[in-house]
C-alpha cells in the first residue's frame, strides 16, 4: 500500500481530541481515581538497605494491629524459574520480575519491597508496615559501574554468569551480558583516517518523571477471578505479567485501563498490580494501592546510568572511515538494561565501513531500570554526536555538512544488520541547515549546537474493531492505552476512510475482555500499527457496505463504489445510500456493520531527528539557559500535527532536563538522596523557551498514510545538542551529564 492521494479531509488536520473535554473538566479517571465501596488500602514495606540478606521477617505485631486484613511477603509468591516475556527482547525475566515485586532472600536496592499490607485505612496499612520486623544481614553495596565490573566486586546474584564472552566464565559476576557488533577492517580504517577523536562520556540514571504515580485497584472474587483497574501502557501485558508472577491464569483476570498520566516507557512493567491482587484475594475485599512520589523514584523506572568510550576517525573530505564504541549500562538490581538498543543505535545514523561496538549490561544495587523513551539511545547519541561535533571542528567543516556526507539513506545497510527502507534523515539535516535558526546571530557567552538521532520504531501485535451505530456514527476500538492523543489520530484515519466527520467517530480503549490482544503502547507503535488495523477494518466495512448496497439495488458488487461516506452506483442505477441509511437498514442486509482486524505489521519505518539548540552560559554561576530550540523530525505523515509536535517538544524537553539537571543522587550508603521533585529537578516552564518544530514528511511505504512512529526519536539528540552548544559558548567539552551549574563552573575554572 502506498499513499497516492494527497488531498486528505481529516488526515493532517487538527481536530479537538475526543477525550479532551473530560481532561479539561477534571472528569477523566486516572489510575488513582478509581474506588469501590468497602475497599481496603495497601502499603508496602521497603528495604532501607541497598544490599542485604533477609534473615527473618516477623509479622506478629503487624498482623495484630487494628484494621489489618492481610499481609504478604516474598514467600507468598511462587518461586519462578527463568522465563522471558515474549517480545521483551530479553528485557523481562519473570523470575527477576517476581523478585523485584517482593524480595525473596535478598534485598538489592534501597526501596526494594519486602512486604505488603492491606488494612481498612491507608494509615492503618502504613502503620502496620512500619512494625513488621525484618532482620537483615547487611552486605557490601555496589553503586557504580566501575565498581560493579571489577573482578573482586561484591556479587549481587551468585547464579549470574556473563553471556556473550569469548570463553565460558567460571564464576558469577555483575556483568550479565556482552553485546558485540563488528564489521569491516578496523586497522585499515584507522590507517585511512586523517583525524581521530576519542573521548569518554558518563551519564547518570534519570527517571521518566510521569506526573501520575503508579496506582491500582484490585478485586479478587471467591472464585479466584479478579478485576484490576490500573493505568499502564498496556493492560494486556499487565494481565500477562501479573498472573505469571502470581501463578494464576490470564483468562481469570480482567484488566480495565484507566487514563494514563504519562508513562514514557516506565509503565510497561508491573509493580503494585500483583501485590494488590494477592492482598485482595487474601482479604476477600478490593484493595487499592497508590505509590508516593518517593516510592516512584526509589523503586520504579529509571533508565540506566552509563559509561561510554567512543573513537571515530574521518578522512580530510569528511568521510567517516572507522569507529569503535565501548559502552556499559546500569541495569539496576536485575539484568536487562537497554544496552541492546544502545549498541544498535550508537552509530546507526552514519554509514561507516569499519566498526566495533561492544556493550555491557551490568547489575548493581540500584532500582531495576525500566524502559524510557527510545531506551538506550539517548545516552549513546550524547557520546557519538559529541564526537561527531568535535570531528567537524577538527575538519573545519560545518557539523551538519559532515553529517550529510555520512548520513544513512535508503538501501544502506544499517550497522545493526538490515538495510534501511525509505528514510528521511537527509531531509531532517537539510531542513535544519536551511532553517533561519541555524543562521541567527549569537551574543557573548552564547553558543549553538546541533545533533541527530535515530530510532527503529515498532509494529507489534494489534487488534482493532470498527463498528457502525444505527445512526451512522462509528466506534473505533483498540486495546492500546492513549498516552498522548492516539485516539484522535485513529479516529481521523477512520474518518478519512469512511468519509464521515471525525466527531461522528468515538475512539475507545477497550479492556482485556472486550477486544483481542494488543501489545503495549510503546515503541512509538500506536499510530502506525493500530492505524494499519483501523484503516484495514474501515476498508473491510466499506466493502461490506458496498456489497449490501449492491444487494439492495440488485446490481453486481463491482458497480458500487464508496464516495464521501455514501455507497454510489457507478452506472447511476439508483440514488446513493448514506452510511446512516445502510446502518439503520442493516438488519435486512446481513446484520450489524462491524469489522475486526488483527495484524502484526513489520516496517514501522525508522525515525530520525535533527535538533538545533542555542544556549547562554553564565560564567559566574555556571548556569546554562536554553535560549532557542528547534526540533526537526521525520514523521512520515503527521495524522494530527498538534500531537506530533507535542511528541517532538515533550521529548526534546525531557532531553534538556537530562542534559542539564536530572540525576539520581545516592549517598555513600546507597540511599537515594533526591527522591522528590524538589531535588530531582525536572524542567519547568520558566526554564525554557518555545520549542520550535519542523515536521518532515517522508512517507513510510509500509503504512497506508505513510505514518512513522514519532513518540521516541525526539529525546535522542538533545543532550548532545546542548553539550555542543555549551562548547560553542565556552570552549569546554562537557563529557559528563548532567551539565549542572557546579560541573560547568568546574569546567570553566579548569584552565
Amino acid at each position: 500500500m502506498t499513499t497516492t492521494r494527497t488531498g486528505y479531509k481529516w488526515v493532517g488536520t487538527r481536530p479537538v481530541r475526543h477525550d479532551g473535554l473530560d481532561k479539561v473538566t477534571g472528569r477523566a479517571r486516572f489510575g488513582a481515581d478509581y474506588a469501590t465501596a468497602g475497599m481496603l488500602h495497601g502499603a508496602v514495606l521497603r528495604s532501607p538497605h541497598p544490599h542485604a540478606r533477609i534473615l527473618s521477617i516477623d509479622l506478629t505485631e503487624a498482623a495484630a494491629m487494628p484494621g489489618v486484613k492481610a499481609i504478604i511477603t516474598g514467600a507468598d509468591l511462587p518461586d519462578l524459574s527463568d522465563e522471558f516475556a515474549a517480545g521483551s527482547e530479553g528485557g523481562i525475566n519473570f523470575r527477576d520480575l517476581s523478585r523485584n515485586i517482593l524480595a525473596r532472600d535478598k534485598v538489592l536496592y534501597e526501596g526494594h519491597p519486602v512486604a505488603a499490607v492491606a488494612a481498612v485505612t491507608l494509615r492503618a496499612a502504613q502503620q502496620a508496615a512500619e512494625v513488621i520486623e525484618v532482620e537483615y544481614e547487611i552486605l557490601p553495596a555496589v553503586l557504580s559501574l566501575e565498581h560493579a565490573m571489577e573482578d573482586d566486586a561484591p556479587v549481587l546474584h551468585d547464579d549470574l554468569f556473563t553471556l556473550g564472552l569469548d570463553s565460558e566464565p567460571d564464576r558469577p559476576s555483575n556483568i550479565s551480558r556482552r553485546r558485540v557488533i563488528a564489521r569491516g577492517d578496523l586497522d585499515a580504517g584507522w590507517v585511512e583516517a586523517d583525524v581521530v577523536v576519542e573521548r569518554e562520556y558518563t551519564t547518570k540514571a534519570v527517571h521518566q518523571g510521569y506526573i501520575e504515580p503508579h496506582a491500582v485497584v484490585a478485586e479478587t472474587g471467591e472464585d479466584g477471578r479478579s478485576t484490576l483497574w490500573c493505568s499502564s501502557q498496556g493492560h494486556f501485558a499487565m494481565r500477562t505479567y501479573t498472573t505469571k508472577v502470581l501463578g494464576w491464569e490470564p483468562g481469570d483476570m480482567k484488566v480495565i485501563p484507566a487514563e494514563i498520566g504519562g508513562g514514557f516507557g516506565g509503565k510497561t512493567t508491573i509493580y503494585l498490580e500483583p501485590l494488590a491482587a494477592l492482598l485482595s484475594r487474601r482479604a476477600g475485599r478490593a484493595v487499592k494501592m497508590v505509590m508516593t512520589r518517593s516510592e516512584v523514584f526509589r523503586a520504579t523506572g529509571p533508565t540506566s546510568g552509563s559509561v561510554m568510550r567512543i573513537k571515530m576517525g574521518a578522512r580530510r573530505d569528511g568521510k567517516l572511515v572507522a569507529a569503535t564504541a565501548w559502552m556499559a549500562y546500569e541495569a539496576g538490581a536485575f539484568p536487562g538494561s537497554p544496552i541492546g538498543p544502545g549498541v544498535m543505535t550508537v552509530l546507526a545514523c552514519y554509514d561507516i565501513p569499519n566498526v566495533l561496538i561492544e556493550g555491557y549490561d551490568v547489575v548493581l544495587n540500584k532500582p531495576k531500570v525500566a524502559a524510557y523513551r527510545a531506551p538506550g539511545a539517548p545516552m549513546a547519541a550524547f557520546a557519538a554526536e559529541s564526537v561527531v561535533d568535535e570531528l567537524a571542528e577538527k575538519l573545519d567543516m560545518d557539523p551538519i555538512e559532515l553529517r550529510l556526507r555520512n548520513a544513512v539513506t535508503e538501501g544502506v545497510r544499517a550497522v545493526y544488520g538490515p538495510k534501511f527502507r525509505k528514510i528521511g534523515f537527509v531531509e531532517t539535516l537539510e531542513e535544519a541547515r536551511d532553517h533561519p535558526h541555524y543562521a541567527a546571530p549569537l551574543g557573548p557567552w552564547q553558543g549553538r549546537g546541533v545533533a541527530s538521532g535515530f530510532w527503529f520504531n515498532f509494529g507489534g501485535e494489534t487488534t482493532a474493531t470498527v463498528s457502525i451505530n444505527e445512526d451512522g456514527t462509528a466506534v473505533v476500538m483498540s486495546g492500546c492505552p492513549d498516552i498522548g492523543g492516539t485516539r484522535a489520530a485513529l479516529a481521523q484515519m477512520a474518518a478519512e476512510e469512511l468519509g464521515i466527520d471525525v466527531h461522528r467517530i468515538e475512539p475507545v480503549v477497550a479492556d482485556t475482555h472486550s477486544i483481542g490482544y494488543n501489545d503495549m503502547t510503546g515503541g512509538s507503535r500506536v499510530a502506525f500499527a493500530v492505524g494499519i488495523a483501523v484503516v484495514d477494518a474501515s476498508r473491510r466495512l466499506i466493502k461490506d457496505m458496498c456489497a449490501r448496497a449492491a444487494l439492495i439495488w440488485d446490481v453486481p458488487a463491482e458497480e458500487v463504489e464508496w464516495v464521501d461516506g455514501r455507497a454510489q452506483s457507478v452506472t447511476d442505477a439508483a440514488a446513493p445510500l448514506t452510511l446512516e441509511e445502510l446502518a439503520s437498514g442493516s438488519a435486512n442486509t446481513g446484520g450489524p456493520l462491524s469489522a475486526t482486524v488483527t495484524v502484526n505489521p513489520r516496517g514501522a519505518g525508522a525515525g530520525f531527528s535533527t535538533q538545533i539548540c542555542d544556549v547562554e552560559v553564565d560564567p559566574d554561576t555556571g548556569l546554562v539557559t536554553v535560549l532557542r530550540y528547534t526540533v526537526v523530525q521525520d514523521a512520515g505523515r503527521a495524522i494530527h500535527p498538534d500531537y506530533v509536535e507535542g511528541q517532538m517538544q515533550g521529548g526534546a524537553v525531557q532531553g534538556i532536563g537530562w542534559a542539564l539537571n536530572e540525576e539520581y543522587i545516592f549517598d555513600r550508603n546507597g540511599v537515594m538522596e533526591n527522591p522528590g521533585f524538589l531535588d530531582y529537578r525536572m524542567p519547568v516552564a520558566s526554564d525554557l523557551p518555545m520549542i520550535d518544530t519542523v515536521i518532515v514528511e517522508v512517507p513510510n511505504p509500509d503504512h497506508p498514510y505513510g505514518v512513522r512512529g514519532v513518540g521516541e526519536t525526539g529525546i535522542i539528540p538533545p543532550m548532545a545538542a546542548v553539550a555542543n552548544a555549551v562548547y560553542a559558548a565556552t570552549g569546554k567539552r562537557m563529557q559528563d551529564l548532567p551539565m549542572s551549574p557546579v560541573r560547568v563552573l568546574e569546567a570553566l575554572s579548569g584552565d
Partner: protein, 157 residues
Amino acid sequence: MLNGDEIDFLCNDYQTLLSALRDELGMIGTKEGCGTGDCGACSVILDGQLVCSCLVFAPEVDGRRVETIEGLAEVDHLHPLQDSFLEGAAFQCGVCTPGFLMAAKALLDRNPSPTETEVRYGVAGNLCRCTGYDKIVRSILDAAARMNEPENRKEAP
C-alpha cells in the same frame, strides 16, 4: 464554600484538603503528583489565592472559599482557558491539566494580559512532563487574548 456551594464534610484532623476533596467528597479532578508541594497537580484556588491543596490541612478551609477544576466551566460553556487548552492541544496525558488550568486562572484573575515570561513564571509551580510547556504557554496567552476581546470582557465585580 466549594465552587460556590455551601458544603459540609467530615474529615480527620491530619487529612489534607487534597485528600478531603478526593477521598471524602469524590472530587477526583484535583490530582496528586507528589504530595509535597512540588508539582502543582493539586492546585486549587483558596480565597482567591493559588495553593497546593496537598499542603493545606482540610480543617483549615472551614468557612473559606475553595475553587477546583470542577467549578471552572459554566453550565453550558467552558471557561476560555478550557477552550484554548482544547483547541491548542495543551496536554497529552492530561493529568497535569486541572492544575495548570487552576494556576492559569489564578494568573489571569490577577494579571489579565500577561507576557510570555509572566505566563512561564505564573505556572512555574506546575510540572508537565509530556508537552515541554510550549502549547500550554501558547494556550494561556491565547485565552488571555480571548478574554480581553471587548465583547468577552467581564464587568468588574
